[in-house]
């Protein structure tokens, strides 16, 4: 069967971005959830936990954002 892959490129990129976003979403949810638990247990450590939480979010989020950029490049 003859097919033109160019026409499907956008749709495939969109699916790829959706799949990439799953991991990032689950990861950020886990990071923030655990950080909230830690802050609730030890409120005196809240400052340190918050800084580390932002670091964790930044590292986790990177893959989802790469998917977002690849969606436009593809």
């Amino acid at each position: 069967m003859e097919g033109n892959i160019e026409e499907l490129k956008g749709a495939i990129a969109l699916i790829g971005y959706g799949l990439g976003a799953i991991g990032g979403g689950v990861g950020v949810g886990l990071v923030v959830g655990q950080a909230i638990t830690a802050m609730a247990r030890q409120p005196e450590m809240a400052g340190t936990v918050r800084t580390t939480m932002f670091l964790g979010i930044a590292f986790t989020e990177a893959l989802a954002l790469l998917g977002f950029v690849l969606f436009f490049i593809a």
Partner: protein, 276 residues
């Protein structure tokens, strides 16, 4: 003037308000193409982005100059705000992350923090509505500066053992060392500058696109009320959603400036103490 107004006008003319429920530009890729330069000085093309970049730098210099010019016992509200910002970067980022010897990196961290903050808030400023960090060249340049700083600091502080500690990590079982070392080497020297830049860039592009599409759709549908009747109510929904995203983008703009500065500090710290 006003990228958003131009975009709203373009969306309004192209928008098929009768059949669609949201206005999407015909080709999103036009948003990523180079615009015609305003004028050219020698080999340098002067575009709207470069003008905004210089404007952001000027605003940062002016803020810091007028905020810290006088060392008074009782600072005014503006001076107190700028001083607390400087203190936040020095104590909250440089000293907390890098340690006591990190205070000397405060000037660099403060400059990138302020530049990214001002550049991101251009996204939310009426009649500008363009985050300069959504042009890949600018965040990539900033992340390359951070890259050179942490590599040079690593070599200056630890000599050649900076690289050997990364490719042959002592804290890992011997059998795993080649694999972990390879991953660490690639992630430190190739992926760090890339992800640092892409994180800022993609966040800003995503926010800019969301704001433009939602507010643009809202205006386009509301203006077409004579043509489509009660369906124009969708426009009110899009506009309200756009205003909600606007509030969200205030958080994102400040948070991304913070994250970029924080990660720069973490990378410098990991060069000073590669064993951690």
């Amino acid at each position: 003037m006003g990228g958003l107004i131009a975009l709203v006008a373009a969306v309004h003319h192209e928008c098929d308000v009768v059949n669609e429920v949201v206005c999407v530009p015909a080709d999103v890729k036009t948003l990523f193409e180079f615009k015609e330069p305003w004028f050219t000085i020698g080999p340098v093309n002067f575009t709207r982005t470069s003008f905004l970049f210089l404007l952001a730098a000027l605003i940062v210099v002016a803020l810091l100059f007028f905020g810290l010019r006088r060392n008074r016992m009782v600072p005014s509200k503006f001076e107190a705000a700028i001083q607390s910002l400087v203190e936040f970067v020095r104590d909250g980022i440089a000293r907390d992350i890098i340690g006591p010897e990190g205070v000397k990196y405060t000037p660099y961290l403060l400059s990138i923090f302020m530049l990214i903050l001002v550049g991101n808030f251009f996204e939310l400023t009426p009649f500008i509505n363009f985050p300069i960090m959504s042009r890949m060249a600018i965040p990539f340049f900033l992340s390359l500066v951070t890259y050179f700083i942490f590599v040079i600091v690593g070599f200056a502080k630890n000599g050649l053992s900076y690289v050997t500690a990364i490719v042959w990590p002592k804290s890992v079982p011997v059998a795993l060392r080649p694999l972990v070392g390879l991953i660490e080497f690639v992630s430190t020297f190739a992926l760090r500058p890339l992800t640092l830049a892409v994180r800022l860039f993609a966040n800003m592009v995503a926010g800019h696109l969301m704001l433009s599409l939602l507010l643009g759709s809202g205006v386009a549908f509301i203006l077409a009320v004579g043509e489509i009747g009660p369906k124009a109510g969708i426009g009110i929904f899009w506009f309200a959603f756009g205003l909600f995203i606007f509030l969200f983008e205030i958080v994102v703009a400040s948070l991304q400036a913070y994250v970029f500065t924080l990660l720069s500090a973490v990378y410098i710290q990991s060069s000073l103490h590669p064993e951690h």
